[in-house]
């Protein structure tokens, strides 16, 4: 089984990077450093998995391999929520306010928004999924503009606080909410198990899926809800970082050359963990925090995205 051996290589690689992150230059105060590093690497693994799975699902549902779920505007909504909180409650709200409460508010808003969007989409039968993307794009732009509007109005010092949240950062992960995030993710993934068998069929397109007996609207609706929960968790944990998903899912496709989601889910999650853990080691020990992991991801992801576009256009 070549698939199995590739998966094992990825697992070993992921484990090596995680161990590397934990133990490189540990120093004498290991009893202080280890638990902190463990917390951080756990958050990195969680975020990586969540982003990878959400993007894989989204690409399957839309039958498009160059889309990321950020297109439905959840990232922008997250920024809007954060900015609104600072706008009305002041920057202290972000620092003083219970992190769990902020997390819950952000996730709540994102999921409710997604549900409203899907309600709009599925109210009329036979609506194309691209209608959803279009709506999401418009809402995303609207949220973005509204956010900038509020940001110009607030005190520059307060703006600094928001700016912190604007870029995904693995150096200041909200570890306080880690357990909550893990529980929500576990619940969402558990629910996903019910639909895994339909994913391969869904990737054949809507009509074939219906022909093969999939309750298309029902299944896609549930998958979209799972996707928005996962994306919300990742965004609330580290900030807007959906570009990573595009990168790792396509790497997983290229590596495994398969359509089987039972393999792809694990593969893309592992690729994601390898990329994030490896990248974070680079950031901390090679660049000594002079750059951010999200910058590297966006750079590599951007180059890869252009490569994908060029290759697709050649076909």
């Amino acid at each position: 089984m070549r698939e199995k051996s590739k998966l094992i290589i990825l697992i070993v690689l992921a484990a090596a990077f995680i161990a590397g992150y934990m133990f490189i230059e540990l120093g004498p105060n290991w009893d202080y450093a280890l638990p902190r590093r463990a917390e951080k690497i756990a958050a990195i693994c969680l975020t990586g998995t969540v982003i990878a799975v959400a993007t894989l699902l989204f690409q399957t549902v839309t039958n498009n391999r160059i889309l990321t779920p950020s297109i439905i505007g959840l990232d922008s909504l997250y920024m809007l929520v954060q900015t609104t909180l600072v706008f009305f409650l002041g920057s202290t709200s972000l620092t003083v306010m219970n992190k769990q409460v902020n997390f819950a508010i952000s996730i709540g808003f994102m999921v409710v928004f997604a549900l409203i969007l899907y309600r709009l989409l599925f109210r009329r039968e036979g609506q194309s999924i691209y209608f959803l993307l279009l709506l999401g794009l418009i809402f995303g732009t609207f949220f973005g503009s509204f956010t900038s509007f509020m940001q110009v109005l607030i005190d520059p010092n307060e703006f600094q606080i928001i700016q912190d949240r604007m870029f995904a950062s693995f150096n200041n992960i909200q570890t306080e909410v880690l357990i909550m995030a893990a529980i929500i993710t576990a619940a969402a993934l558990l629910y996903l198990m019910k639909f895994v068998k339909y994913l391969d069929v869904l990737s054949l397109g809507k009509e074939t899926a219906i022909n093969l007996g999939v309750d298309y609207d029902y299944t896609v609706k549930r998958l979209l809800v799972i996707i928005s929960i996962l994306i919300s968790v990742a965004t609330a944990l580290v900030g807007p970082i959906t570009f990573l998903g595009l990168l790792v899912v396509n790497v997983a496709y290229e590596m495994f050359k398969t359509y089987k989601h039972s393999v792809l889910i694990f593969a893309s999650a592992l690729v994601s963990v390898v990329a994030l853990a490896g990248g974070q080691i680079l950031v901390e020990h090679v660049f000594t925090f002079s750059t951010q992991l999200s910058v590297i991801i966006n750079f590599v992801g951007g180059v890869y995205f252009i490569y994908l576009l060029l290759r697709e256009s050649k076909k």
């Binding site: 036979g126 009509e207 074939t208 999939v214």
Partner: protein
Amino acid sequence: MVEVQSISKSYGLKAVVDNVSVNIQKSKITSFIGPNGAGKSTLLSIISRLMSADTGEVLIDGQKIKETKNRDLAKKIAILKQSNHLSLRLSVRDLVSFGRFPYSQGKLTKEDQVYIDEAIRYMELEDLQDRYLDQLSGGQKQRAFIAMTIAQDTEYILLDEPLNNLDMKHSVQIMKVLRKLADDLGKTILIVIHDINFASVYSDYIVALKDGKIEAQGTVNEIITSLTLKQVYGMDMSIQEINNQKICVYFS
């Protein structure tokens, strides 16, 4: 039997299918013919529950399809639409295996493998079964998709322009397979077809649509007449009998 009871479907103000009722006979090939935009494909999509009708009912073996579970329908009726471009890296055998999904839900049993082998043999794809879809010609791809619907082992097989983009050799090959499916295995086959000579030679019944309404329906001999075809297509055709088959000559 498939009973279509006063089906209507409109996009905006335009009625694409307008109060159509038709009964499809079992174990026969029924061809839907008619000019472009007559509503043939839409009707086929409605019968196969890919679209829902605005009004009217479709009954399969006396059961309303709206009230039947989708998974059960997938064991009764298979539909293949015209455009099937996939960006997936899928081998022919993988694609045909998907036909077993309604039964196995993704976990193929030995019995499934037998059906898959059978379908591949039926469409003469043995040599191609490990090739990837993006390495196949249009005709080979079409045969692979038809093999998938055969593996689905449904009583009713609906095909939307299965001869699109195929040369004569492959068109004849596919029509012969359909004939065999109807005659040997008793499958009921509905096809939307543009070439009326293929419809005339290989089908049992013909339903002619025009502007969303049924213009004529009946056996091949009843429909393939200069008069009826003029009503449907609005052009003169002379009908020649060659080897006991009615051939329309419409090159004027």
